[in-house]
Amino acid sequence: MTPRVVFPNKILPYLLVAPQLAITAIFFYWPASQALYQSMLREDPFGLKSSFVWFANFRKVLADPNYLNSLKVTAIFSVSTAAVAMSVALLLAVMADKVVRSRGLYRTLLIWPYAVAPAIAGMLWLFLFNPSIGSLAYLLRAAGIAWDPLLNGTQAMVLVVAAAAWKQISYNFLFFVAGLQAIPKTLIEAAAIDGAGETKRFWTIVFPLLAPTTFFLLVVNTVYAFFDTFGIIHAVTGGGPGKATETLVYKVYNDGFVNLILGDSAAQSVILMVIVIALTAVQFRYVERKVHYG
């Protein structure tokens, strides 16, 4: 262990961390505390005065069937997005690991989608699957599927999950490729000599050794599905049809900035914050135990 550094000056260390603390305070703690404060306020219809109502907003939000629906939608959306994004990325990474020639090019091409902005990605998928102009929608209908995400809630969900997962696959792919490369070749060879076929080798050797990567991506993908998919949902479905794809984040935006029910919206974002903190804590506490580092 390196010895502790002791500053002779009492003020200097605080000055050194001050910029970081200032940034965290201004851009994180201050807005977060504002949200917390606002979640206990109720505005009059004209925005002229607001009154402090303690937890009334929370009670109202949690009793709202629309909110509970949004909770369900978010759960389905996040689990599906994380599952699709991670499994497809893992499959691609395993395949890319086998590519011998022009492996660099192959990888680079697979990383590109990550550079596409969420709203753009959403638009791409929207155009491809738009029931009236989408080329792939046309193919789907030709194949006998009654494709109409503008009316069918399940199909709308499939579409946003696909778009959200598509964007995250590149990121996951990158980490899985790195994870696969970190597994010593001799382990795979030893398993081959030990009589394990390719599938068996993957599930008994490669997959368990990838666990740290998988775990990390699980946390990142969940947070991504919760927060960073707003642009995609906004561009593709706008939360509809009905409220079939209205996730918690989208509802916060809708209630707060479209409908201007600021108190409700703030209460929802506080709940959202608690949910993500809880999810991450659970993941670290229970899933990480089964993870083998090194």
Partner: protein, 344 residues
């Protein structure tokens, strides 16, 4: 009868590099064959080809008389001990050893019996529940051995298994491997770059250089009768002295066979006395350094522009700067031609 036969085996990598250029070796049942050579000589590639981890470009490898060129590593019934042990880091010692048996569908109680029996012979029984990262280097090495033994394969392959251990442990494990291999009677191929390991372990010693076999034979035969200057300088520590014939006095070269270009003699075969006793049949050498190692001392000398090493038993009174007269008995002289081949 698990014999291993290599017939004109070749390996050319896609890059065009020829790693193995036609190697033929016949390994008898129960023999321990050691492939030794400097790094990059193709010995590891050859071992990996026997294991089935590397495709064979040309030639044939047969185990028990059956050509295995097109058979995968799993079906060759071999076990390999890797240099870095390649233990599965997420499995306990028990699971590491049981993995191969489970893959082959061995019944559960049979696996348990065999793992425990093997663990006992290797003194690993108290470590079965541990994970590899909780073991010392020597213990990991034993687990790697155990994983090979427990399957009771036809052939053992060792890829420099002792090179990650410290010197003392290496000596211990060397003896243990030899005893185990004898006791189990399993045909083995052992790759090393350490000539001491090669000499002490081998029933059959195969000296390789630049993708070809330089010499095959019993270790002491190879030591006493090196076929090439490469073998002469690689086997034996310190290596054989090699002096160009042109630098030698005619009194010595008169004994040389026709075409001789190099004279070789082992450090222990050169007897030396004080410079004043210089005779026609001796070489003049100047001592540049003395290296006492206990039971013997090595004298690093120079004859004209050539370096040579002499061995003195016990302590020596010779000091650096001393001038010596070195005499070599004619029957201890090894003569090599211009291409480094032995002339008998």
């Amino acid at each position: 009868m698990a014999t291993v036969d290599l017939k004109d085996v070749r390996k050319t990598y896609p890059s065009g590099v020829e790693a193995v250029k036609g190697v033929s070796i016949a390994i008898h049942d129960k023999a321990l064959c050691v492939l030794v050579g400097p790094s990059g000589c193709g010995k590891s590639t050859l071992l990996r080809m026997i294991a089935g981890l590397e495709a064979i470009t040309d030639g044939a490898i047969a185990i028990e008389g059956k050509v295995v060129n097109a058979i995968g590593p799993a079906e060759r019934d071999i076990a390999m001990v890797f240099q870095n042990y390649a233990l599965y880091p997420h499995m306990s010692v028990y699971d590491n050893m049981a993995y191969g048996l489970r893959n082959r569908g061995t019944p559960r109680d049979e696996i348990d019996r065999r793992v425990r029996a093997t663990a006992k012979t290797l003194e690993l029984d108290h470590l079965l529940k541990r994970q590899p990262r909780e073991l010392s280097g020597g213990q990991r090495q034993r687990v790697a051995m155990g994983r090979a033994i427990v399957r009771n394969p036809k052939v053992f392959l060792f890829d420099e298994p002792l090179s990650n251990l410290d010197a003392k442990l290496r000596g211990q494990m060397r003896v243990e491997i030899k005893n185990l291999q004898r006791a189990l009677g399993v045909t083995s191929v052992y790759v090393t770059h350490d000539q001491l390991e090669a000499m002490t372990l081998a029933d059959v010693l195969v000296v390789m250089n630049a993708g070809v076999v330089e010499q095959i034979g019993a270790p002491l035969d190879v030591y006493e009768r090196p076929e090439t200057t490469f073998v002469a300088s690689f086997i034996g520590a310190p290596p054989m002295n090699l002096l160009p014939v042109a630098a030698l006095p005619s009194s010595i070269t008169s004994a040389a066979p026709a075409g001789a270009a190099t004279l070789g003699f082992r450090p222990e075969d050169g007897t030396f006395s004080d410079h004043s006793e210089q005779s026609q049949l001796s070489l003049a050498a100047e001592v540049e350094g003395v290296e006492p190692v206990g039971a013997e001392s090595f004298l690093y000398c120079r004859h004209a522009d050539n370096r040579l090493i002499l061995r003195a038993s016990g302590r020596t009174t010779v000091e650096p700067g001393a001038r010596l007269a070195v005499t070599i008995a004619p029957e201890k002289m090894h003569w090599f031609d211009g291409e480094g081949k032995r002339l008998s």
